[in-house]
């Protein structure tokens, strides 16, 4: 092999936070005059990875989802173990960080509990590092923390996890991009159409204003639905701090259709 003498293509200088901020402000202004969007627009340009991954053709509206779409995967006692909901007990030692309890309910848009359904979470450790081969953030891995949890909701739609508070971490959307601390959540409803993957944030994070993933939800009220509430009653004396976060699943379900739209 001979070394290539061709010049490498010019690598554009990373964009500055100020450029991203300007774009985010413009998109927020543009959205203000229109009906509030309940979810992020898939073509939200300040999140650079979206550029080639959103459909350009309009989605096809299905007014009458079929029976299979109004039903969904089911999970049971064989699918989780008791230890899955305590992310601090999955290794021999205690993970480093601030121990927290995260609890809430999974509901449909009519406020009814989603019962016996699978809730999955994953997150960075207290230093902001994922136990993932491709996370090369030079923050320490914690041998006592993987950061994966699962549980089934109970008859009231309740879920609960014990974990540690994740750290903020850098990423390469632009120069000096940092994600606010968050826990990834994956949720199933009674219908496949209610499927949701999202992220839970912590109150008063100073990084909110700078993060294009969080800001991709342009409506203030909608965005704030992703922030858990500190709940002192959920805190345990000399043990953990409590955060409460309720989740409302969008999309039609069979029970919703039965009762008429």
């Amino acid at each position: 092999m001979t070394a290539s003498i061709e010049r490498a293509p010019a690598v554009p200088a990373p964009e500055a936070q100020a450029d991203i901020d300007r774009e985010m402000a413009e998109l927020k202004r543009a959205a203000a005059g229109k009906p509030a969007l309940l979810h992020p627009a898939r073509d939200y340009a300040p999140y650079r990875s979206s550029a080639l991954r959103y459909p350009k053709n309009p989605l096809v509206v299905v007014r009458d989802p079929e029976a299979v779409e109004l039903s969904g995967p089911v999970f049971g006692v064989t699918d989780t173990t008791e230890l899955d909901s305590d992310l601090t007990r999955q290794h021999q030692g205690e993970p480093l960080g601030e121990r927290i309890t995260v609890a809430g309910r999974v509901l449909d848009r009519q406020g009814r509990p989603v019962r016996g359904q699978l809730v999955e979470i994953w997150q960075a450790n207290a230093s902001g590092r994922y136990a993932h081969l491709r996370d090369q953030h030079p923050a320490p891995l914690d041998p006592n923390f993987t950061g994966v949890g699962r549980c089934l909701t109970d008859d009231e739609g309740r879920y609960q996890f014990t974990t540690i508070k994740p750290g903020a971490y850098p990423w390469r959307n632009h120069l000096n991009a940092w994600r606010p601390a968050h826990i990834h959540f994956s949720l199933f409803g009674t219908a496949f159409t209610q499927r949701l993957v999202t992220q839970m944030y912590f109150p008063n994070d100073p990084l909110f204003a700078f993060d294009p993933i969080y800001q991709s939800i342009t409506d203030d009220k909608a965005r704030e639905r992703l922030i858990a509430t500190y709940n002192h009653d959920l805190s345990s004396p000399e043990w953990s701090l409590g955060y409460r976060w309720d989740i409302v699943l969008d999309g039609p379900s069979a029970t919703w259709m039965e009762e008429g739209r």
């Binding site: 459909p55 350009k56 299905v62 699918d79 499927r195 699943l249």
Partner: protein, 185 residues
Amino acid sequence: MTAPTPSQTVGPFYGYALPFVGGGDVAPAGHAGAITVHGYVYDGAGQPIPDALLEFWQTGPDGSTTGAPGSLRRDATTGAVIGRNGVDFTGFGRVPTDADGHYVLRTLPPGDSPYISVCVFARGLLHHLFTRAYLTDSAEDQLLASLAPERRATLVAACERDRVYRFDIRLQGDSDEETVFLDFG
């Protein structure tokens, strides 16, 4: 109605949390009726997407929509995910794309339904996308009938050979390339 919790991207690091052993092996082990559905997931530049996660949901071979628990069945001693028990048909599959953007699903043909429901997640995708992988191009199907021919073609898997279907997903492209995605309202 209560306002819904907004979606956020699955991000790049779900790989050690969501995929599970045998996630694409929905057909009971050794079932003679098993079919293979496979394909690539592409972006708007026609490049394969190595970090997409696909979920599949379908009727059972008898047409039932009830599924069965046990997709993530655990070893009671170690807690490890050991996958389906090889007998029950759970109706649910979850497959991450490989480094080359390819996925493989082994399942049974959906009963009383021409398609398998698909949900697509990926880094860069702020809100998942739903579609349908049709195994047969049914003239009576309401959705297919409502689409222009070049759009309709994106939803119909090609039968490569007996029991092997190819279904590619293109997240972005011209109207004859980009997969039809569905909005259930």
